[in-house]
């Protein structure tokens, strides 16, 4: 929240439009389009191969850009000699750290996209070339001479926190510790949250369980590698086509790194083949622009899968301690957690979000969480759905499950007894507003899945999870076309069917059929700034902007009808897609449809449009509860997911198919995170499984049909009651599956992924201990 400290006595009364909106229960009771399941507008292009993704753009004279990456996990870059590469026929440009001026606003981003004094992880970019062919570009990379001085490295979070660990940055002095340390370390920050007196709380407990947990770093696993085409013109006007979750953010950062005016860079978001948070930052885009500027020709860079694993942004790995106390009748008396996350070579591991989310499902009198953001010699992490929450919730929900067993209480009943609800003080501070955790737990308990019989070697797990959600800067335009159709321009890339949801909301407000409305994702020159598609914000905030823009257009159409009828505008109302006299006193006129008003717009004042710009607040938190049945092969340790049910509060499902899709996607990714996915580093600090053959993501044959239950507790901060649904779905699976596997295997699993060797080892260790 950067600000100008001037003018301390700023106006209190808001003269700008409120950033929150009130839920309209009356309207919600009579939805005609909201809640339906029409085909998505981008569906045909996607299934016929016509959709254009990041690598599909081709510009005349386009060059191939390739990036040279460090083979060392940690090394001083003593010198770079690119003279031979530059002299190679067909090479049009080479860029290194010398082609990017220091940038205080985005220092870490700059360092990450092109190494400076040191290479900080295997795969860190150190130079890039643009050439007339891939073969020439590859040859040129081999001709660049880098003089490295290898340094000791560290990739494990606990090892990186050790006082004798190799230090990545001399500039990192741990924040959040008083008094401040005097020496640099790999611990970027310590954060603390909570309230009450945990010592007193634990003293009240009849049972206390304390355990340590670890989770591996995983990748979002989006199917489309990062790709972009940059074109810097001779006059400095630049364009960038890229797959991203936030093209406005890309524009801001790239313009800053390249030292150009924002107005001279136009960024267009391509269709996107998955993001899940991993495409909320820049990696190759500034490099492509720098190459294009130097070469004077368009440059395309497309990452290989190997590069995606080694040099984009996986999520954090974690090491955690959790302690929870409970009375015999199931009241949680205290909760404590320490969450240590490594987020790669730069600050920003989402440890604080993990600490804030860990106990969010519970209304506790005594709770304390501590978070440590740690750097290591790994690629800088990026967001991944509900960043930080799945790991900490895995630890807490595992202990909750074990406590339920210990006191002989149903695990859902234990959660219900302590569940956060409206008015509860959250574990991270503020009181919760309206929220639906209790409703998801009650729906879970009533679901047939919960009481279905289990077979041999099978176990059932349950877990709940939470995510904050937020709104953010948003801007949308809506145009009424002369033929009565409507086009919407939004600035939030569609990663989950949001264009369909925008069309539904506009159709609802305007009173016209869904298929009369089309939505596009506009480029950065066509709209005001929009925050990135992240934080489960798009259906909430872009949707609200579309609703407001629609209402503005309706007001204008009523005004045009009033002009035609020669009555006051206030005497006209909008109903079922038509302007009508508001009552007998207004006059006796046949209703004018949207199409009729649009057809004469040129004669009644010109084009009719609506727009809305705001900074959305009031997103409304989201809770979910998952049930999963697992089967463990005691001979091999292999885990099969037999049955899975997701129950989550959506506030209001605008397009239920895409809400269910988000639920299922979160569960599927969580299954991979829980069972097999893992960044594996060797002692040499190098990633050993940078490809889908060795990095084991679940495929369709690994997954059961994932059932969904949409709970709708309206968000009071949205006119339709919408809550974000994109992230909460990945929070409970790690814990739910771990609880299921622990039940099936008869041993508590405390480390992810629960790959066959790890499960088998746990079973064998437990057998030995029992003997």
């Amino acid at each position: 929240m950067a600000r100008n400290p001037d003018a301390d006595n700023a106006p209190v009364k808001k003269e700008i439009e409120s950033s929150t909106s009130k839920y309209d229960a009356e309207k919600a009771a009579s939805f005609k389009v909201v809640g339906s399941r029409p085909a998505r507008p981008d569906g045909m292009d996607k299934v016929t191969g016509k959709a254009r993704f990041g690598a599909d753009m081709v510009m005349p004279g386009q060059l191939v850009g390739l990036i040279l990456r460090s083979p060392h996990p940690h090394a001083v870059i003593k010198s770079i000699d690119s003279s031979e590469a530059e002299a190679l026929s067909g090479v049009k440009a080479v860029v290194t750290r010398d082609d990017f001026a220091p940038n205080d606003d985005h220092a870490d981003v700059l360092y990450n996209i092109m190494a400076r004094e040191k290479a900080l992880y295997e795969g860190h970019a150190v130079a890039a070339v643009a050439a007339t062919s891939r073969a020439v570009a590859r040859k040129a990379l081999k001709l660049i001479k880098i003089d490295y001085e290898p340094l000791p490295h560290v990739t494990d979070v606990d090892a990186a926190m050790s006082p004798d660990a190799p230090v990545l940055h001399d500039s990192i002095i741990t924040r959040g510790i008083s008094p401040a340390p005097t020496k640099p370390s790999n611990v970027v920050a310590r954060s603390e949250f909570g309230h009450g007196d945990i010592d007193a709380g634990f003293a009240q407990a009849d049972e206390i369980i304390e355990r340590s947990f670890k989770t591996a770093a995983t990748h979002q696993g989006y199917i489309e590698p990062h790709a972009c085409v940059a074109n810097v013109g001779a006059d400095g006007m630049s364009e960038l086509w890229c797959c991203t979750q936030g093209h406005f953010h890309v524009r801001q950062v790239c313009a800053s790194l390249l030292g150009i005016d924002v107005s001279r860079l136009r960024v267009t978001a391509s269709e996107i083949g998955g993001g899940f948070g991993g495409k909320t930052t820049v990696f190759i885009e500034p490099v492509a622009l720098a190459l294009s500027r130097k070469a004077g020709r368009p440059v395309k860079i497309a990452m290989t899968r190997d590069e995606v694993f080694k040099a984009s942004g996986p999520t954090a790995s974690s090491s955690m301690n959790v302690k929870i106390g409970v009375t015999k009748d199931g009241r949680i008396t205290a909760g404590y957690g320490e969450f240590r996350y490594q987020g790669g070579a730069f600050a920003g591991a989402p440890a604080d979000f993990g600490a804030m989310s860990a106990f969010a499902c519970y209304a506790l009198d005594n709770v304390k969480t501590e978070a440590y953001d740690v750097v290591t010699n790994r690629p800088k992490g990026a967001a991944y759905r509900a960043p930080g929450a799945p790991m900490s919730v895995y630890a807490v929900e595992s202990v909750i499950d074990e406590l339920a067993t210990r006191i002989g209480m149903d695990p859902i009943d234990l959660r219900l007894k302590n569940a956060a609800k409206e008015g509860s003080k959250s574990s991270y501070g503020p009181k919760f507003g309206s929220c639906g955790l209790v409703e998801t737990l009650e729906a879970a308990k009533a679901h047939p899945h919960y009481n279905a019989p289990l077979g041999p070697n099978q176990g059932r797990g349950v877990a709940s999870g939470f995510w904050f959600n937020f709104g953010g800067e948003t801007c949308s335009n809506l145009n009424i076309n002369a033929d009565g159709t409507v086009t919407i321009a939004v600035g939030t890339p569609d990663i989950g069917g949001s264009r369909a949801s925008m069309c539904i909301m506009a159709a609802e407000e305007l009173g016209i059929p869904y298929d009369k409305v089309r939505a596009i994702v506009a480029d950065t020159s066509a709209l005001g700034y929009n925050d990135t598609t992240e934080g489960s914000r798009v259906t909430f905030s872009s949707g609200m902007a579309v609703i407001k823009a629609s209402q503005q257009a309706v007001t204008e159409m009523c005004k045009r009808a009033a002009m035609i009828w020669d009555i006051p505008a206030e005497a006209v109302t909008w109903e079922d897609g038509c302007a009508k006299p508001s009552g007998p006193n207004a006059g006796d006129f046949e209703p004018l449809s949207l199409a009729e008003i649009a057809a004469t717009a040129g004669k009644t004042g010109g084009p009719i449009a609506g727009h809305h710009e705001y900074n959305a607040d009031g997103a409304g938190v989201s809770f979910g509860t998952h049930i999963v049945d697992t089967e463990v092969d005691p001979e091999t340790g292999k885990v099969d997911i037999i049955r899975y049910t997701v129950i989550q509060d959506a506030g209001k499902a605008i397009h239920p198919d895409y809400v269910e899709g988000q639920f299922q996607g979160g569960a599927a990714q969580g299954i991979g995170w829980a069972l097999n996915e893992e960044y594996i580093y060797g002692d040499d600090g190098k990633l050993q499984n940078a490809g889908f053959l060795d990095y084991r993501m679940p495929v369709a044959s690994d997954l059961p049909m994932i059932d969904t239950v949409i709970v709708e507790v309206p968000n009071p901060g949205h006119p339709y009651g919408v809550r974000g649904v994109g992230e909460t779905g990945i929070v409970p699976p790690l814990a739910a599956i771990a609880n299921g596997v622990s039940a099936a295997a008869g041993v508590r699993m405390t480390e992810l992924p629960m790959s066959p060797p790890r499960v088998l080892k746990a079973i064998d260790t437990a057998k030995v201990a029992a003997e």
Binding site: M1, F353, P430, F468, D617
Partner: protein, 82 residues
């Protein structure tokens, strides 16, 4: 007067103080008051890495959001998402 509760790294940056009383009727006045009362918080505030929760609603950037009397106000890390 608004009683504001600090959390995360902000709390330690303020020397371990968990609550402060600030004369403020909107978020901008709150942040400026915090900076005056706790100059050591200035680097944290300038980083723009905080959000303000007023009666349970989290505001990431909204200087002129009113803070009603007797509101529950928290300074928390600025949220990000995937």
């Amino acid at each position: 007067m608004v009683q504001v509760t600090l959390s995360g790294t902000i709390q330690q940056a303020a020397g371990g103080i968990s609550t402060l009383e600030i004369e403020a009727k909107n978020i901008r006045q709150l942040l400026n008051g915090l900076e005056k009362q706790c100059p050591e918080l200035k680097p944290e505030l300038e980083k723009g890495s905080i959000a303000v929760a007023i009666n349970g609603t989290i505001y990431r950037d909204d200087w002129f959001q009113p803070i009603p009397e007797d509101s529950e106000v928290f300074l928390i890390p600025r949220l990000a998402g995937g």
